[in-house]
């Protein structure tokens, strides 16, 4: 049996994503353990210091991965997508509640990222930047007194907002009954042709000539074959 | 509270940190958990509490050392000690760290070529003794000089040794400290008195800051006076730490004498003085009256920059508060070692106090009483007699420095005496003349030529660096010294005793060092006693047992000042001397007269003035990291400059400035302030170490001595350390 997939994420894309994800999860768990009084009161100085070290490890993953990506990936400007909005996005936003609860069509055709993804991307970019900069300021004592406290509050707020959006992201990509395919895409780099056509029509149309692959699934292995005009006419 | 809260000095981390000796202050024990904490508390209470005497400066306050497992864990003031009554200044805590100082000397050293090599004590004693014998044979005993900051051990052992070899060449640090004060007061009222500031109604300080050069009893006295509503006036070119406690009267540096002459004149003209006392207890007042009659407040205003009206006010207030009014006898300050006219200023201080009729009056000045101590039985312990020769540096010698006390000498003159071949060997104890007397190069060049230089110290000071033999001492916490006398309103005795064992076993206290050298010189019979035997003999007449003294650290003897009763003064006439024969015979004005400072800064120049800071005792504490940390955190090494003058020169607070005298140019950050006379630059006294093994203080800050040319005041023999003009520019 064989299926057609669209190449969506390169290995570098995925490495970046997962190290940020790992860093972020580490950061939010260790951060909120200290942030919320209830959990913090259970700490002693040794565990607390350990948690603070973990938080810094998370911070390094969270900050270093995008920086490396920006420096070395050919797709370094991909994030600018998040700032490109048009009429179809408004249509998407109108149709989204119904779509995500009940399903069905009526969603305007989307590019590589749909409006919801762009929105999340936007928050991740701005919030992540705020989080990172405020975090570094706290880590390295850039400020003192009131300024420092304001920085702390910025850190708190950006963390809370990002985590809330992170829940949505996590849910839609891996839990939501209809949308789990995008999790696979980030895991394998491939997206089912069917799903891509349906959810990212405009993007699919752009890349269907070049980025389709056939994956033959045997019992033990799968073979990836680039799609040529020969095997396209199925 | 069952919790292990705040057990700072009990956690394992703390302990680990402490095992690195200099990392933290004092040692504590490891402990974990709640039970251990309670236990540690218990043992903390069980720490040995041993009284001894501080070494943060030379005031020797009583401290109680808390010792646990052979380490000092804390110190507190000894409440029984009259000097500090349970309090302590910052230096005490810094000094408590000395024992664990990284820079300490651990073994006797001998200079071979340009390097020091460790040698045994036996070798050191032998070689030093041999060289001393050769020098004495060849050049006579007077060519052996003993220099020290005189404390009881150094005085007893050092002077006894010098007597034994037949030399009178003993110098104390006084010529670069308060010798002028002592000379001036000796030749007017017979001795340097103390001040009963606590009971005074009017206190005038001339250049003395009891809050900068802290002796706790002096500062406490001022505060008690303040509490009793005394009027406090602080005359000083600099708004010192004491000035805030009273009224600051800024004065042009070096002109205190003019102020005091005008006050005397004003008091006489207006009858604001104790005429009966003067009639009964003084000589030469008429000559004095005649001499000062031309020193009007208006005259003094031109010289001192103090308004005539303020001078009259001071004279009047002093007069109306008498006899509960006083002029503080001071310390180093304005009439210490500093100016050519300092001895005359001191004479005026003595005479003005006499005019207030305040000698041994409550709220006046008083002549301290000393305890009567015993002596070693000379039948069992032969005592060398004092040699009948002149002091090699001319102190007390007619035709040279007749008024300079021969037991004090003039250490700043020693380099030239070495240069002249008069001094061949130098033994230095508890003193660092190379750094602490004027002119670095003069000192280095001089001491380098000495045929034998022996320095006893705890670290490699500038003087030690030049020595042929450096003999390491244990710190004050590791040694027992001899019983010492406490003088004051009530007399007493105190003792410095060993509170911990020697950290560096191959160090020896000065008493042992001198005994060791003496034995090698066949003079051992003069040192055939232990410190304990000596202490027993000293204590015998006091009725205080040695054991009791060791337990309490201090004891009171029966002598007491009789207030209200005027004692027989120790002047040659037994009275206050407004006219001094000794001065006349020495070729000086018998009645004090105006004498301008030797150096007058030209327009645009500044006079370099300097003094103590309350966290340091000159250079002796600058190498203590704990105290230097304060200096660095608060930039205490900065030079002070008047804000208006700074503005004219385009200098801002914190700028680097360059200070130059004909001798030296140095750069330092500046504190721009309104708290200083416009034509003066103030430098703190203790920085600018150049001994490279003093790792904390090396090359940090400036030392005023570098700017000053070595000179001598002919009257009192002071080192004229404020007689220097400097130029300043942005650095």
């Amino acid at each position: 049996m064989s299926k057609i997939y669209v190449k969506r994420y390169s290995i570098i894309d995925r490495l970046m994503h997962w190290s940020v994800a790992l860093g972020f999860v580490l950061l939010s768990i260790t951060g909120f353990v200290i942030f919320f009084q209830g959990s913090a009161s259970l700490l002693n100085s040794n565990i607390g210091s350990f948690i603070r070290i973990l938080h810094r490890i998370g911070a390094v993953l969270f900050i270093a991965a995008p920086i490396l990506y920006l420096l070395f990936s050919k797709k370094r400007w991909a994030w600018s997508e998040a700032f490109k909005w048009d009429k179809s996005d408004i249509g998407w936003l109108k149709a989204a509640p119904k779509h995500y609860f009940i399903g069905g069509d009526g969603m305007p055709p989307q590019g590589k990222y749909n409006t919801g993804q762009k929105l999340y991307y936007l928050f991740a970019l701005i919030g992540g930047l705020l989080l990172a900069v405020s975090g570094l300021a706290l880590w390295f004592d850039w400020f003192a007194g009131k300024t420092n406290f304001i920085v702390l509050i910025i850190h708190d707020l950006s963390a809370v907002i990002l985590v809330a959006f992170f829940f949505v992201h996590l849910y839609l990509t891996s839990i939501h009954p209809r949308e789990r395919k995008s999790f696979e895409a980030m895991a394998t780099g491939m997206m089912e042709e069917e799903y891509a056509k349906h959810h990212h029509e405009r993007w699919y149309n752009e890349v269907k000539e070049t980025d389709l692959v056939v994956i033959e699934e045997n019992k033990n292995s799968s073979k990836i074959k680039p799609i040529t005009s020969n095997n396209l006419s199925h | 509270m069952g919790k292990n809260q705040n057990s700072r000095n009990l956690t394992r981390r703390t302990f680990l940190k402490l095992s690195a000796i200099t990392g933290t202050i004092l040692a504590v024990e490891p402990s974990f958990g709640v039970k251990e904490w309670a236990k540690a508390q218990e043992t903390n209470d069980k720490a040995l509490k041993i009284p001894t005497l501080c070494n943060g400066c030379t005031s020797r306050c009583g401290i109680i050392a808390y010792v646990k497992n052979g380490r000092i864990v804390n110190i507190k003031g000894n409440p029984l000690h009259p000097t500090n009554k349970g309090t302590l200044c910052a230096r005490a805590y810094g000094a408590a760290m000395l024992t664990y100082q990284q820079d300490r000397l651990t073994t006797p050293l001998k200079k071979v070529g340009n390097q020091f090599e460790p040698i045994s004590w036996e070798q050191a004693y032998k070689e030093i003794a041999e060289k001393l014998k050769t020098i004495i044979n060849q050049y006579g005993p007077a060519s052996v000089m003993y220099m020290h900051n005189p404390k009881d051990v150094g005085k007893f052992y050092g002077n006894r040794f010098m007597n034994a070899i037949g030399s009178k060449s003993i110098q104390t640090h006084h010529s670069v400290c308060y010798i002028s004060r002592d000379v001036g007061l000796k030749y007017t009222i017979g001795a340097t008195p103390a001040a009963d500031t606590a009971n005074a109604k009017y206190i005038l300080y001339i250049g003395r800051s009891v809050a900068d050069g802290i002796k706790p009893s002096h500062l406490k006295g001022l505060i008690k006076g303040k509490d009793n509503q005394a009027k406090i006036v602080v005359v000083d070119p600099r708004h010192s730490a004491s000035a805030n406690l009273g009224e600051w009267v800024p004065i042009k540096p070096g002109t205190d004498l003019a102020l005091l002459l005008a006050i005397a004149n004003t008091m006489i003209i207006n009858g604001w003085y104790d005429q009966q006392f003067i009639k009964e207890h003084s000589i030469g007042f008429d000559q004095f009256r005649k001499e000062v009659s031309s020193y009007t407040p208006e005259w003094a205003e031109k010289i001192t920059d103090i308004p005539a009206a303020k001078i009259i006010e001071i004279a009047k207030d002093l007069g109306s508060a008498r006899p509960h009014a006083l002029i503080d006898p001071s310390w180093k300050g304005a009439f210490g070692c500093n100016y050519i006219n300092s001895a005359e200023t001191a004479r005026l201080v003595g005479l003005l106090n006499a005019m207030l009729g305040n000698i041994n009056q409550k709220g006046g000045i008083y002549l301290s009483v000393k305890p009567k101590l015993g002596k070693l039985d000379s039948n069992l312990y032969p005592e060398p007699s004092k040699p009948e020769i002149n002091h090699i540096d001319g102190s007390g010698v007619i035709g040279e420095y007749p008024l300079v006390p021969e037991d004090k000498g003039m250490p700043h003159r020693t380099p030239e005496l070495i240069d002249q071949g008069k001094v061949r060997a130098v033994i230095i104890n508890h003193f660092n003349p190379v750094r602490n007397t004027p002119d670095r190069h003069y000192n280095i060049n001089g001491y380098q030529k000495a045929e034998l230089m022996v320095v006893c110290d705890i670290w490699m000071s500038e003087s030690a660096e030049l020595a042929d033999y450096v003999l390491p001492e244990p710190t004050y916490l590791e040694r027992t010294e001899i019983v010492e006398s406490l003088s004051g309103k009530k007399a007493g005795v105190a003792i410095r005793q060993k509170v911990i064992n020697k950290i560096h076993p191959n160090t020896k206290p000065f008493s042992e060092i001198i005994t060791g050298i003496a034995k090698e010189m066949e003079l051992g019979h003069y040192f055939n006693f232990s410190v304990e035997e000596l202490n027993g003999a000293l204590l015998a007449p006091t009725g205080i047992s040695y054991q009791e003294l060791q337990e309490k650290g201090v004891g009171q003897t029966k002598e007491e000042v009789e207030f209200g009763k005027i004692p027989k003064l120790k002047t040659s006439s037994g009275k206050v001397e407004f006219y001094c024969k000794a001065y006349e015979e020495a070729g000086f004005a018998p009645v004090p007269t105006w004498m301008p400072p030797a150096v007058e800064p030209k327009t645009g120049e500044f006079r370099l003035i300097w003094g103590k800071q309350n966290v340091h005792s000159h250079s002796s504490t600058a190498n203590i990291p704990l105290l230097m940390a304060v200096t660095k955190e608060y930039n205490l090494e900065r030079a002070w400059m008047n804000a208006t003058r700074a503005q004219q020169l385009g200098i801002k607070d914190g700028d680097l400035i360059e200070i130059s005298s004909p001798l030296y140019t140095g750069k330092i950050k500046v504190k721009v302030t309104h708290r200083i006379y416009p034509d003066a630059i103030f430098l703190p006294g203790g920085y600018g170490a150049f001994a490279k093994n003093l790792k904390t203080s090396f090359n940090f800050g400036l030392c005023p001595n570098d700017f000053i040319k070595s000179a001598t005041d002919p009257i009192s023999g002071n080192g004229m350390m404020m007689e220097v003009a400097v130029t300043v520019r942005k650095g």
């Binding site: 100085s45 706290l138 | 292990n4 809260q5 730490a241 406690l245």
Partner: protein, 242 residues
């Protein structure tokens, strides 16, 4: 009740640093770490000039922002009003340093924790005064019970008109100062409002926002799953029907 406080008379203080050093010694601090620091203020023009030094240390505030900001409860206040740091619980997050308007807290790098003046509570248990009070030569410090109207400290506070410094931050400090020169109001340090904002608003709100997000998503899951199942059922039904 006992409620400890201190009076510092800066008109008697000669900035000799003895308190700092005695404190460092009794607390075994590193040489460059101190629980007492000094603020010097010069006023006037030569020769009419005054200077005053304020020794500043933990003020043991009744409404201590450090206690409020401490996530783990390491900073706490005893019944007698002394604010302490439980070293077993301190994780070194330094929020308290940020929160303290008096700069009274010190990060002990080697220990990886934060400490401060503890009013020498261990000395108090032995019946002694705090080390800084014991050592002070000009007797610029008085320590005692603020709840006892006849205590020396209460009498002297009234007599000398001593007042807390930076009291505008509403932290109710328990060190009273006698000073002739006004301490510059460090607006930089006015963070009492922010402290309350953070602990009383942001923290609960954050919990709610995150809770709401989870709840919303759960609701979506339930609805979307139900709809999907229904659709699939219908689909299967249709297939069967065919």
């Amino acid at each position: 009740m006992t409620r400890y406080g201190m009076l510092i008379d800066s008109t008697r203080c000669v900035s000799c640093f003895a308190c700092r050093l005695s404190c460092q010694t009794i607390n075994s601090l590193e040489i460059d770490k101190a629980f007492i620091h000094f603020v010097e203020k010069e006023e006037g023009v030569y020769p009419n000039v005054k200077v005053q030094t304020l020794p500043i240390q933990c003020q043991h505030c009744e409404d201590a922002p450090c206690v409020k900001n401490c996530p783990t409860g390491a900073s706490f206040q005893r019944k007698d009003g002394i604010v302490l740091v439980d070293e077993e619980k301190c994780i070194g997050c330094k929020y308290c340093i940020t929160a303290c308007p008096y700069d009274a807290r010190v990060e002990l790098k080697k220990d990886k924790l934060v400490q401060k003046c503890n009013f020498c509570y261990q000395e108090l248990e032995k019946g002694n005064q705090p080390a800084c009070v014991q050592t002070c030569i000009p007797e610029a410090r008085i320590f005692g019970d603020l709840d006892d109207p006849n205590s020396e400290i209460n009498i002297e506070i009234k007599k000398r008109n001593a007042k807390p410094i930076l009291s505008q931050y509403q932290t109710k400090p328990k060190i009273y100062y006698v000073n002739e020169i006004k301490v510059q109001e460090q607006t930089e340090k006015d963070i009492a409002g922010l402290t309350s904002l953070r602990s009383d608003l942001i923290k609960p709100a954050a919990g709610m926002v995150m809770g709401a997000a989870v709840a919303g998503l759960a609701a979506n899951y339930v609805v979307a799953t139900a709809v999907k199942n229904k659709e699939e059922k219908e689909k299967r039904g249709e297939e069967n029907h065919e």
